[in-house]
Symmetry: C2
Subunit: 330 residues, 2 copies
DNA sequence: CAAAGTCGTGCAAACGCATGCAAAGGAGAT
DNA sequence: ATCTCCTTTGCATGCGTTTGCACGACTTTG
């Protein structure tokens, strides 16, 4: 029954002071090899490990990063979470996860709760942040990085892909394969990601002297995307090409097209998505899509985070390049 | 520039003692309405929020639950994570996530790190736990619940579905639809989940006087499962029905069958999975599968956790019932 | 051999909060 | 008006660390 074993217990057993054992567990502190050995042995015998909370209180560094994310059903985010968690562990940080509903009111309370834990940094995936909270974070010295979202307020670090270019590439591809009536199934209109992808897409159409043939909103939700597809393809003539704002919705759209409406993809209608989630490569869909690079995105995120935590001032990362992955739906 | 605002600052501004403000933020403490109002106002003005770490140190309750999980590419686990996080937030807890590689050495160091954070509880998804660490947890009074895994050592809380029954149902279903040469693509042989599912499956075959026609190991990995499928279906005569140990692998198997080998599912070979992840319902696969109930599983997990944290002794939950979801692959 | 420098160690003060205990305040009863 | 009892409040202590400062021992240099 070890119960709670503190540094004092170890100190007594090793015949040294609390400071000594503390220094043994603090990399870069000045300890002689002999006492270090004694302390290590005593610690081992007692099963002692430093209390991370106490350390955090004193040093002001909790070594924990808050992550708030709205949903995990879009496979893009689990991928990110896994990558991010591993990358941060490598830097000695750990991830405290908070689920925020889609409504921003929820986000606020959740962010406040996160701050209570004295996190060293905050990454916001798939959600926005009220500016006063951003202000509070800045005041507390907690760096915030927006993931896959920009925000109007400047001075905010944001890691994003070049959604505008991606949207344009989607348009050019659909046009290139001969689509004449091109539709768009949008995500959530409040998201910068949506706006940028769509703006680029429209620009691509315009450059070719075309305009959008149909538009519906799927809100980045699976069920909504299917409804959007049903609405869009009820009319005649129907679109012969559609850009869906992310892969996750694209799966739903393709399901409706093939399974409900009996249409052939890409025979009757070409579909292109955005993200390149792992399942996009599965033969059942073989989804043509605009690829975001998850590794690069999390690398940029942790890089920005650690430089800001270190007291440096990270310069806002450039939008990361995207690439067209041509498969069989467009 | 609020910097760090402590309870003392609030106390001064409200003209009361630190204790008073502490009590205002401690539910169930005795404070008069008048001072509560003063304190609340002062706190609001200063942007004060109690430091969760300091509180945790003093009370011994960090209100954080550690979750260690090996991978997130199998969609079952993101679903669980989302559900679990939401359920725990409702109880006032938060989730500290640790990714553990598949090797158990990694798991050990990760669990030690988690314990450093004085977590109130620990849930281990898709990984095992060395018995000495389990012992250490018990000594520290940290309840541990194994999720979707049993372990030989008794006294361990484990939330599992009735894998045995599920395996049997899979066998009975394949037999019922007329399969004569039945194969099994296994997950990782070290996992109790695998053992139980397979044992039930074999029992189901045996009850019908049949035996396993082929067996390959997919290790719960997507790529491995595809390789396993290629090996299994190289031989002739080939199986006409296969039970894949989880849905995630089943998608890979079906891909190989249809896209690489040109076989019809279920025409040439019936496939049944396990889990019923959301994408199993997508028409592109329409996977027949044995459904685990994620809500029930996390409910059981949370329930066990909170009673143990509360000092009670949770009785090991019964294996949760599974159901056959018949779709179009078997 | 003495002075100066280096290295290792202990002491004590923080970090921000919760809580038992005692004192103070108020209300009600006689 | 006095006594009792209950509610509210302040004081002080402690949670498990890290770390600046000072002191002792030991090594180096002149």
């Amino acid at each position: 029954m070890t119960g709670k074993v503190t540094s004092l217990d170890v100190a007594k057993r090793a015949g040294v002071s609390r400071s000594a054992v503390s220094r043994v567990f603090t990399p870069g502190a000045s300890v002689s090899a002999k006492t270090a050995a004694k302390v290590r042995e005593a610690a081992e015998a007692l099963g002692y490990r430093p209390n991370a909370l106490a350390r955090a209180m004193l040093t002001g560094r909790s070594k924990i990063i808050g992550l708030v994310v709205a949903y995990l059903d879009n496979h893009f985010y689990p991928t990110i979470l896994e990558l991010l968690s591993c990358a941060l562990e490598r830097e000695g940080y750990h991830v405290l996860v908070f689920m925020a509903g889609r409504d921003s009111e929820d986000v606020d309370t959740v962010v406040e709760q996160i701050l209570d834990y004295q996190v060293d940094g905050l990454v916001l995936g798939s959600v926005g942040l009220r500016s006063d909270l951003a202000e509070r974070c800045r005041a507390s010295g907690v760096p915030v990085v927006l993931f896959n979202r920009r925000i109007e307020a400047d001075g905010q670090l944001a890691v994003v892909s070049d959604s505008h270019a991606g949207g344009r590439m989607a348009a050019e591809h659909l046009i290139g394969i001969g689509c004449a009536r091109i539709g768009h199934i949008a995500g959530w209109d409040g998201a910068s990601t949506q706006k940028d992808r769509e703006a680029g897409f429209l620009e691509g159409l315009e450059n070719a002297g075309m305009r959008l043939f149909a538009r519906e909103v799927g809100d980045f939700r699976f069920a909504r995307a299917k409804e959007a597809a049903r609405r869009m393809f009820r009319q005649t003539p129907r679109p012969d090409g559609v850009f869906v704002a992310n892969d996750y919705m694209a799966f739903g759209v393709i399901d409706v097209l093939r399974a409900e409406l009996g249409l052939s993809v890409p025979g009757d209608v070409a579909v292109i998505g955005f993200d390149d989630v792992p399942s996009a490569a599965w033969p059942a869909y073989a989804l043509t899509t605009i690829r975001q690079d998850p590794e690069a995105m999390v690398a940029a995120t942790v890089s920005a985070l650690v430089t800001e935590i270190g007291g440096g001032i990270a310069h806002p990362p450039d939008p990361l390049p995207v690439t067209l992955v041509r498969r069989r739906t467009a």
